[in-house]
């Protein structure tokens, strides 16, 4: 019973992590909304990181496993990277739907949009940035 008591918390979080990851996967596969998918992907990430770290927390010593902790931090950073990129992609996809003349802008967005929005100021400041 001693060993079981020590492992109790780790096992509890292990089960929770599995459940959270599975629930996130189900939502990821069922959702149509892009933001809901992105959030579900993050929930899957949290669940799997929870499994990873509670596997390392089963030891009797109080200190966490440094190798697995480093792996979890790596996982968090990668999660932030793909979520940030995904968020910007979602914003761009929906922004194009939202614009009045969507097809033209989607084709050659650079010239049109910079032409609309004070191209002089943009180009001058860009050059100034590259010179210095």
């Amino acid at each position: 019973m001693e060993v079981f008591a020590g492992e109790g918390a780790a096992l509890w979080y292990l089960l929770l992590g599995s459940l959270v990851a599975v629930a996130g996967t189900v939502r990821l596969l069922l959702a149509r909304d892009l933001l809901a998918r992105l959030v579900a992907m993050n929930v899957v990430g949290i669940g799997s990181l929870l499994v990873l770290l509670s596997l390392g927390a089963r030891a009797e010593s109080a200190a966490p496993d440094p190798v697995l902790s480093a792996l979890v931090i790596t996982g968090l950073v990668i999660t932030v990277a793909f979520t940030g990129l995904g968020a910007v992609l979602i914003r761009r996809i929906e922004g194009i739907h939202d614009a009045e003349h969507a097809p033209d802008q989607a084709a050659d967005g650079d010239q049109i949009s910079s032409g609309q929005n004070s191209s002089e100021q943009d180009s001058s400041s860009t050059e100034g940035g590259r010179d210095s």
């Binding site: 008591a5 909304d33 200190a63 966490p64 932030v80 943009d122």
Partner: protein
């Protein structure tokens, strides 16, 4: 769940409460249809997960979760939810009725009960139950790398084990991870208008003066906290990623309060700072084999103990700046007022 519990139930009560709160927050992050509710649910899930990491005695991971997972990710998702042009309900009745015209008549009033959802939930329940059974059946063997790790810690130049693992033993992995974050920043810049920097020259909306005062009060504290996390990382909990997240939140706050320098003054610095950490990391990795005794086979990204501290610290400082700038660029590009390039 009572079978899992130790005999002294009072010790287990915080764990149970935290676990149930975690499940509730996960439900809030998955089930609602409004985007803002999803984002807010995810924000609370991040905060609770940080508490779980602390409960598992992982202060490093807790800090990273609070800074990156809860803070920056929550900010990005809430911003995205607020600025969505229209808030389509996920799995809304109209969407389903156009794609699945043959399903039952019930779906228009209660679309959550359509066969697709039911099948998915049933499959998820089976999968989750099976997984939980597996955890009870497996042999619980502990990883066998603790002793070799302690023996090798002296050669890393840092005393905190997690920082040592990240920057010495798994340096190659950390390099690629920083490169992923840098590449995400570069990709985001490519997606934004005018190299992703157009937003810097746009006028910001007016904010209440109370927020400005708050930012003035918080900014020095955040800067200090970020630097402390960075330099404490070599001997205590903290590190480049946690510090980068705190510094990025400082940049976001300063931008909200109109306190960032003008675009002309910030623009020349953004790109070099974004890639500087990764470039210096690679160069520092090359120095090891180049300066080493040719008779000793020196692997790349391995450092002599006498200057390992200097190498790890300088790499970590530049990495932190690169991480903060990369995260800030993601936030900045989301700000694009039209969402269209």
């Amino acid at each position: 769940m009572s079978g899992l519990l130790p005999e002294d139930v009072s010790l287990a009560v915080p764990d149970i409460a935290l676990g149930l709160a975690l499940l509730t927050a996960a439900g809030c992050a998955l089930i609602p249809r409004s985007r803002l509710a999803l984002a807010a649910g995810f924000l609370s899930l991040g905060a609770l997960t940080a508490l779980v990491w602390l409960r598992l005695d992982s202060v490093d991971v807790g800090l990273a979760e609070a800074g990156l997972g809860g803070g920056i990710l929550g900010a990005l998702l809430v911003w995205l939810a607020i600025r969505s042009p229209h808030s389509p309900a996920p799995d809304s009745a109209e969407t389903i009725s156009t794609t699945q015209p043959t399903s039952g008549t019930r779906r228009t009033s209660r679309p959550i009960l359509n066969p697709r959802t039911l099948l998915g939930c049933a499959a998820g329940a089976v999968l989750g139950g099976g997984l939980c059974l597996v955890w009870f059946q497996v042999l619980h063997a502990l990883p066998a790398w603790s002793e070799p790790l302690e023996e090798q810690m002296e050669t890393t130049g840092v005393t905190h084990e997690i920082t040592g693992v990240l920057l010495a033993f798994r340096a190659y992995d950390t390099l690629l991870e920083s490169a992923v974050l840098m590449l995400a920043g570069v990709a985001v810049m490519a997606l934004g208008r005018d190299g992703g920097l157009h937003q810097l020259s746009l006028p910001q909306p007016e904010v209440p003066s109370a927020l400005r005062w708050l930012v003035r009060l918080c900014a020095p504290v955040l800067l200090l906290a970020g630097l402390w996390l960075l330099f404490a990382g070599s001997s205590d909990s903290g590190g480049a990623f946690q510090s980068g997240a705190v510094l990025c939140s400082l940049l976001i706050l300063l931008r909200t309060a109109h306190a960032l320098p003008s675009r002309e003054r910030t623009e020349p610095w953004i790109r070099p700072l974004l890639i500087g950490g990764v470039v210096v990391f690679i160069l520092a990795g090359l120095v090891g084999p180049l300066l080493a005794d040719p008779l000793l086979s020196e692997a790349w990204l391995s450092w002599q103990p006498q200057w390992a501290t200097a190498a790890v610290l300088s790499v970590e400082i530049l990495l932190t700046i690169g991480i903060a700038v990369g995260l800030f660029l993601m936030y900045l590009t989301l700000e694009n007022p039209e969402g269209v390039q």
